[in-house]
């Protein structure tokens, strides 16, 4: 067994950025001493496959089938397991998106191995990866490995590994002989209007907490997020008050995030929230209470009423 197989995720023919990051990292790791092979399931995706050479794939195994037009845990897992049978890799990488995090354990179980989720750093020793991953919601970091088992199934946290074009070209090969017996079937994909950017994927996040006082004031948070081209997040307090959907919640029982900029508005900073944002590159806090715990981990803080600070901030950003 040698090489790295990378699962590539696409939605409507558009490859996810996080998948390009995983592919680039496989290339940077020298394919663990073998080839970098991409596996791409979908429907009508022939044009996408060839382009993956640019991002480090030497070979692309394509499963192009109408039954794969939407994600199906069973169908996609069968495709990746089949690709693993063909490529015989020593490692399989997934981008740690909702799809990747769902698929990796299924593929691992069907191959009879374990899986290591949420890698933030990878070190190759021979053919064995040492995986750094946050545990206890980033209150600690584990250095873990697959105990000598192969293939090593690993998911990579989005936005941690760089996507790099390496300018190669890939051989595209179709995967045959799939049964695709799918029981749990995705009937529809409902996109929230105007909210495509999820906190888990966003490079900039602006969050509101109890200090924003009511659901209507998320408009102000959204204004700042829009000015920064970022996503809207929320503390547990704001979600539990019913001001915004749980999908926006950042923290230990929400999403653990690692954006390049995190702006906390009216969030005091419970330990669960601080854990969830601690790996952000730059943390900004805006809060009336100078003793709020959020200021202890903030790189920049403004002590003041967010309703007075945020509007001129939006103006200043727009003026840049």
């Amino acid at each position: 067994m040698a090489g790295i197989l990378v699962f590539v995720e696409q939605r409507d023919g558009e490859v996810r950025k996080a998948s390009l990051q995983a592919l680039s990292e496989a290339k940077r790791q020298g394919g663990a001493g073998g080839a970098v092979t991409a596996v791409l399931p979908g429907s009508g995706i022939g044009d996408v496959a060839g382009g993956l050479g640019t991002w480090g794939a030497e070979k692309v195994l394509v499963a192009d089938d109408p039954n794969l037009v939407r994600y199906s845990a069973e169908g996609y897992a069968e495709v990746v397991a089949k690709a693993a049978e063909i490529a015989q890799p020593s490692a399989i990488f997934f981008a740690g998106t909702a799809m990747g995090r769902d698929l990796a354990p299924r593929v691992a179980a069907s191959l009879g191995v374990g899986a290591i989720p949420d890698a933030v750093a990878l070190t190759l020793n021979g053919e064995s990866f040492s995986v750094r991953r946050p545990v206890y919601s980033s209150k600690a970091f584990a250095e873990a490995n697959a105990a000598g088992k192969t293939p090593q199934v690993i998911s990579l946290r989005p936005n941690v590994f760089a996507a790099e074009e390496s300018g190669g070209s890939a051989e595209v090969v179709a995967i045959d002989g799939l049964s695709l017996s799918i029981r749990a079937l995705v009937k529809a994909l409902v996109v929230e209007a105007g909210e495509e950017l999820d906190v888990a994927e966003a490079d900039i996040i602006v969050s509101g907490g109890r200090g924003i006082k009511g659901p209507e004031n998320f408009a102000l948070i959204r204004e700042l997020a829009d000015a920064l081209d970022g996503a809207v997040g929320a503390s547990r307090a704001a979600v539990d008050a019913g001001w915004i959907d749980h999908s926006h919640q950042v923290g230990q029982t929400g999403k653990v995030v690692s954006p390049s900029l995190y702006v906390a508005c009216g969030i005091s900073g419970a330990i669960q929230h601080l854990a969830g944002i601690s790996s952000s590159k730059v943390i900004v806090a805006i809060n009336k209470d100078p003793d709020a715990p959020i200021f202890k981990i903030a790189d920049y803080g403004v002590v003041g009423d967010l309703f007075d600070v945020v509007p001129p901030m939006v103006e200043a950003i727009k003026a840049l």
Binding site: R70, A73, T97, R101, D102, P105, R106, A108, A109, G114, A115, P117, V135, Y136, S138, A140, F141, A142, E143, A144, N145, A147, K149, A184, V186, K187, A188, L189, V190, L197, D198, A200, I204, L228, H246, S247, Q249, G254, I271, Q272, S278, V282, I283, V284, K296, A298, D299, Y300, G301, V302, V303, G304, D305, D308, V309, V310, M313, E315, A316, I317
Partner: protein
């Protein structure tokens, strides 16, 4: 409508984490153990389903002696039966081994739906549910925020980035439950008293043919705490918020290069 709910006993989310003497696991001194918060949504959903359609809720955990408290908590909230596979310290974080243990118990039992939380807080792996579904050959939906159960089938809403997938599946099936699915109930005093009398079935993990730690698929070499952050730049913005905002934006642009 019989439901199996898999729960984990985990450190309270308010816990301060310290590294233990072995440098590989947490110092358990002073840790309060709770039912993993996501498992509470799984339990609540199972309770509501059986209240509406009849049947029983069996709650199951794989963990050391202290994990019985998590089962008692679930029994107090209304679960009918509990199964405690005793062990699990040597397999913490080894999702596939944990799934094999749960599958070994469940393979001979009758159920319509298996419910798990999306992840155990702590190891934060979010893998056992999906692995268990594969090992039991069950159709499954992960990260469910809405569930409707019909006659022999279910419709679930699953959370993905910026969207929701609507998934239909025949039953028996397995789902992993996310916040938003329901509002978990608390145990009432009456339930707590009744739970003390309910039996907890104990299973020795060795009796399932699994030798813990003998054939690991996940090994932690070290556990470390994140480095302490240096003190940040704090701007006083009470008197002149506009000036503070302008200074913050300038710092973010020129010093942090974040915007």
């Amino acid at each position: 409508m019989n439901c199996i709910v898999c729960v984990a006993s985990v450190p309270d989310t308010a816990s301060v984490i310290k590294v233990g003497g072995d440098g590989k696991s947490i110092d358990e001194a002073g840790i309060k153990w709770i039912v993993s918060p996501y498992d509470e949504y799984a339990l609540e959903e199972a309770l509501q389903l059986t209240e509406a359609k009849g049947g029983e809720v069996t709650v199951m955990t794989y963990g050391p002696a202290r994990a019985e408290a998590a089962l008692r908590d679930c029994l107090a909230r209304g679960a009918h039966q509990a199964v405690h596979v005793v062990g699990g310290e040597a397999t913490l974080g080894d999702s596939i081994t944990i799934a094999k243990v749960l599958a070994a118990v469940l393979k001979d039992r009758e159920y319509d739906l298996v419910l798990c939380g999306i992840q155990g807080v702590g190891t934060d792996s979010s893998q056992v549910g999906q692995m268990l579904a594969v090992l039991l050959d069950l159709p499954s939906v992960a990260i469910v925020t809405k569930l409707e159960v019909g006659d022999g089938s279910l419709t679930a809403e699953r959370e993905v980035e910026g969207a929701k997938e609507i998934v239909e599946s025949p039953m028996p099936a397995l789902i992993t439950c996310q916040k938003g699915l329901n509002e978990p109930r608390y145990a009432a005093l009456k339930g707590i008293m009744a739970a003390k009398k309910k039996p907890v079935e104990k299973i020795d993990v060795a009796s399932l043919g699994i030798e813990e730690g003998a054939d690991p698929f996940y090994r932690v070499e070290s556990l470390t705490l994140p480095p302490e952050k240096a003190a940040g730049t704090i701007i006083q913005g009470e008197d002149d918020p506009s000036a503070a905002a302008a200074e913050l934006v300038k710092l973010l642009r020129e010093e942090a290069k974040a915007i």
